[in-house]
Subunit: 210 residues, 2 copies
DNA sequence: GTCTATACTACGATAGAC
DNA sequence: GTCTATCGTAGTATAGAC
């Protein structure tokens, strides 16, 4: 009963090669078991994929638990508090992305972003969607802008963080230096500063439209 | 001699399924020819992949030609001019990304970003690398910061644009409305504003470090 | 539950007709 | 240049021993 090992390998292999490209033989071999155990536990290749999606979502929910309230409630009413939570959330994300720990799991999700299957709905109804919707609500409270502007801004803030995961090969070459502790600190500070710059301007424009 | 058709299909299929996952039979069938023509023209699967990389890079170079000088020279000396060029470059990119025209070609590149093969070096020595290095130089001129900060900032600016391509499934759901002409305008204006906010703050901090 | 054995399909490469 | 035919390999699914 090492089904957890099978799921970890599946997330890696499906992420790299996709549902069609990955092979159940390869996954089973890498997990140290026979291919037919996939049929036994998950009913086949597609069942394994669905189980991997569920496993991955549960994993992300656990990782985001410390920074994301479990209920959908309790957006802080004070703009300053909302901004503080935005900074905390983005910092938690970038710190994980820079450590490059779960890059394989991200690959699975990025594939679903660009070739979405029904599985992406599962992610959006899960941890990813909860995080995104909360970020939008926080931006709205922190800046006072309309919902559409808040949504666009939330995506921009997310983008400056996400780029370190999605475009890592480019980032490594552009940076030219290894991402050590000092570099990580510099990136985190820069992102916090950019976030403040964007939200400051947004709040100012809101009070006195240009 | 419809080798161009073969390359277009190859970029799509390799992008979606990867080098291993895509099948030469499938590519040939979608291009309306026999599989053995791949052997004849490109020597095999890997040769087709290499040709697809070259084709894609040439294509990007052509698309970026209007906004990217062919030589590596001539960074404007005036900060205001540099900032203007940054805004133009980012606007050209986001406009392409939002139109969703060449999403399939981006998929190929994103796969190389997250599972880099030797092909990514080809991209970085080509149009992508030239664009990235120029953006860094422009940020440095526009803000006057050190090269490391300029590189980090360039990636942040790139990220807020790139997110609309790499996380499109998420963006669609977060936005909740279709990306029509009005929405595109709003996104472009927001990105231009964010860019100004970030560069303004950077220049200010540079003159009087906090 | 985990394994081996097997049936059937699809893969990449290649040879050769035209 | 483009096609069909074929070979050896690897894929998923399934049945059944233990």
């Amino acid at each position: 009963m090492a089904t957890s090992k099978l799921l970890d390998v599946a997330i890696r292999e499906f992420g790299q090669r996709g549902l069609d490209g990955a092979s159940t033989r390869g996954i089973a071999a890498a997990a140290g078991t026979a291919m037919s155990s996939i049929t036994y536990h998950y009913g086949g290749k597609e069942g394994l994929y669905a189980a991997a999606v569920k496993h991955l979502d549960a994993d992300m929910a656990e990782q985001l638990a410390s920074v994301l309230p479990s209920g959908s409630a309790s957006i802080p009413a004070e703009p300053a508090m909302a901004r503080q939570e935005i900074r905390l959330l983005l910092d938690r994300l970038i710190e994980r992305f820079l450590r490059d720990e779960d890059a394989e799991r991200s690959l699975f999700i990025m594939r679903e972003q660009m070739c979405p299957s029904a599985a992406f709905d599962h992610f959006y109804q899960g941890a990813i969607g909860r995080m995104a919707e909360r970020l939008v609500a926080l931006v709205q409270t922190a800046s006072g802008v309309s919902t559409t502007d808040a949504r666009i801004t939330a995506l921009a803030l997310f983008g400056q963080v996400m780029v370190w995961r999605t475009s890592r090969a480019l980032a490594d070459r552009v940076l030219g230096i290894p991402i050590d502790e000092d570099c990580t600190t510099a990136i985190r500070r820069q992102i916090a500063r950019n976030t403040d710059s964007i939200l400051d301007r947004l709040s100012a424009d809101q009070q006195e439209p240009q």
